[in-house]
């Protein structure tokens, strides 16, 4: 038996992994550890303290967390609901060609987040935007000043832009995993369409839906460029706050920024963790 198969995958060759592990350590793991340490240490006394976290209990920071969670949760739920629906419409489309085009389109648009997207939304929904004009001219309705693109609602619309296709891409394989035979079995056992979805379809889809909510939540929570371009100082978000601290625009103790960052990591970690668990469950069911 060749030696490479005998040793079950752990052997002295692990040395070869060192460059990669070193890279991860240097640019990823050590900095994050420093971050965690910095958030629980008092700079002057060098003693452990939770003071920095307690300092987060200030309207400015609480607001930013609230807003970030609100916008992430909102766009995640809207994204999952509508994305699932759109995904089903695409899944049941008879033409393979059209399906492929729509999938490619989703693939591209979900990566469009950032400044160009924010700017594009200003073009359509800004004070002189296309849609603003449209409402003005055809319905004699003035969107502004009750609505503004440079606000929470405006940013929500921009976030939904890249959340929807992400959900579409996520849910399509889940629909494909619903076997035709399950549907037919259920029918032969007397179930109508509603009963099939209620007892089998939706439960089987549920892990993917949960995966969708958590992934979209994490996606929105960590977004920076779109928010920076569109709302900057007008809306307080966690990522923006941390950004200010790095740029040194706020002459405050950086430890607060680190505390915020650690809390963000915990939130993100939970989301991604649930996402992974849900994905594994979804995959297991689609294989059976």
């Amino acid at each position: 038996m060749p030696p490479s198969k005998r040793k079950a995958g752990y052997n002295s060759d692990w040395v070869r992994l060192v460059p990669f592990l070193l890279f991860c350590l240097v640019f990823e793991i050590v900095p994050i550890l420093f971050l965690i340490r910095g958030s629980v240490v008092d700079k002057t006394t060098s003693q452990l303290t939770l003071q920095h976290y307690l300092n987060l209990n200030h309207p400015l920071y609480l607001n930013s967390f609230l807003n970030s969670i609100k916008i992430s949760g909102l766009t995640a739920i809207v994204g999952v609901l509508f994305g699932t629906f759109i995904g089903y419409a695409i899944y049941r489309w008879p033409s393979r060609r059209v399906q492929e085009i729509l999938i490619t389109l989703s693939d591209v648009t979900t990566n469009f987040a950032g400044a160009p997207l924010a700017f594009a939304f200003v073009v359509i929904l800004g004070m002189n935007g296309v849609i603003t004009q449209f409402f003005l001219q055809y319905f004699r309705y003035e969107l502004y000043p009750t609505f503004s693109i440079y606000s929470f609602s405006g940013l929500t619309l921009a976030y939904i832009y890249f959340q929807l296709p992400l959900m579409v891409l996520l849910i399509l394989p889940a629909f494909a995993g619903i076997k035709r035979e399950w549907r037919e079995s259920a029918q032969s056992l007397g179930a109508n369409t509603f009963q099939f979805w209620r007892y089998i379809g939706v439960p089987v889809l549920m892990p993917s839906l949960i995966a969708g909510v958590t992934l979209l939540f994490a996606n929105a929570f960590g977004a920076y460029a779109t928010a920076y371009t569109l709302v900057e100082a007008k809306l307080s978000l966690v990522t923006l706050q941390i950004g200010y601290m790095i740029a040194g625009e706020v002459r405050k103790d950086p430890a607060i920024g680190m505390a915020m960052a650690v809390v963000s990591l915990i939130i993100m970690g939970l989301s991604i963790g649930i996402y992974q668990a849900a994905t594994i469950r979804a995959r297991r069911w689609s294989k059976s």
């Binding site: 076997k179 035979e181 399950w182 037919e184 079995s185 259920a186 029918q187 032969s188 056992l189 007397g190 179930a191 109508n192 009963q195 007892y199 089998i200 439960p203 089987v204 297991r284 069911w285 294989k287 059976s288």
Partner: protein, 356 residues
């Protein structure tokens, strides 16, 4: 009238008749197999009975009721698929109870029925497990239990054993037959495996390219095939070409064959005479049987199949197959000159079929 009655059932895909004028009467409580090669239309016909595929022409009646246009969830049929199709999000109990849940049976009765049915398939202990924790054979037994739990009027099985190992297949097909006859449930069984069909069916429907070639008991299908296709599809058959002469002789290129009274063949007509390998006797010296066909030839191949040894014999350039058992007296060797003997009633004569 028959319990399940298909009349002139036809299905067309892209201008081609995948099922053409299918007529069949199935008696209550019997097990009928649809047997044929891939693409012969057997699964399509089954799915039309189930209601998943719409008929283009014809009618289907079940217990006197016309179900041609009834939707599948109202036909009261049970279906077992090749791919088991157990619902992954439910336990075995949940799966088996599903049809009863749809019928809105009270919970206690549901539990009782589920236990009964699980006992029938001998998987009482698996009730709280999930499908992915079971083996293929176990999953298929649960699928069967699920289909039977509602006591359907008809049980339909679409190649239920194809995905399983050979040993499991043999055991399970016996189980299916046992349960089916115990419950006396009218059953249609689709398969491409002859052995399966012949071993468990009351009647076999042999199909080819969308039409029925023959309907009969397994014995009838095997012993008296009505068409060239059936004769060559079922088991192995040696084919001798020749011309009809009188009522008992077929004249071939190198030898003549004595056959049992032929009817309906004109003198000079081109026919093929079919002879099954197991009906051929082998002698190492010129035999003296009168009234039997005896033809000399040379042994080209000897293949040991366990219970039977298959000889490939060269008869004037044609390869003929003969099966001999261990009971055969003298050992045969390669290139040995032997005589093949078979009686006239082992010969089946039929017109040469251009289709197959």
């Amino acid at each position: 009238m028959a319990y399940l009655d298909l009349k002139n059932v036809t299905k067309v895909y892209s201008g081609v008749d995948v099922v053409h004028n299918f007529n069949l009467e199935i008696d209550k409580g019997s097990l009928v197999s649809f047997l044929g090669p891939s693409g012969c239309g057997k699964t399509t016909t089954l799915r039309m009975i189930a209601g998943f595929t719409k008929l283009d022409e014809g009618t289907i009646r079940l217990d006197g009721e016309d179900i041609t246009t009834v939707s599948p969830n109202r036909r009261d049929i049970g279906m077992v698929f090749q791919a088991y199709a157990l619902f992954p999000n439910m336990t075995v109990r949940g799966n088996v109870a599903f049809g009863l849940l749809m019928k809105k049976m009270p919970k206690r009765e549901i539990d009782q029925r589920v236990d009964q049915v699980l006992e029938m398939v001998r998987l009482q202990d698996a009730a709280e497990r999930f499908p992915h924790q079971l083996s293929g054979g176990q999953q298929q037994r649960i699928a069967l239990a699920r289909a039977l739990a509602v006591l359907p009027r008809v049980l339909l099985l679409d190649e239920p054993l194809s995905a399983l190992d050979a040993e499991v297949r043999v055991v399970l097909r016996g189980e299916i037959r046992r349960i089916q006859s115990e419950l006396a449930i009218t059953t249609v069984y689709v398969t491409h495996d002859q052995e399966e069909a012949l071993s468990i069916s009351d009647k076999v429907v042999v199909m080819n390219r969308g039409v029925i070639e023959q309907i009969g008991t397994p014995e009838e299908i095997y012993r008296t095939p009505q068409s060239h296709f059936v004769a060559t599809f079922i088991g192995t058959a040696n084919q001798f070409l020749g011309k009809v002469s009188g009522i008992d002789t077929v004249i071939g290129d190198h030898f003549n064959l004595l056959v049992d009274g032929m009817k309906g063949f004109v003198d000079g007509k081109q026919v093929v005479v079919l002879v099954r390998p197991e009906t051929i006797h082998v002698e190492s010296e010129q035999p003296k049987h009168d009234g039997w066909n005896s033809i000399p030839g040379e042994v080209e191949t000897i293949t040991f199949h366990g219970a039977v040894t298959r000889l490939g014999v060269n008869l004037h350039g044609q390869r003929v197959v003969a099966d001999i058992t261990v009971a055969h007296t003298k050992p045969i060797s390669l290139n040995q000159k032997i005589w093949l003997l078979f009686p006239p009633d082992a010969c089946q004569v039929m017109a040469v079929d251009e289709r197959s």
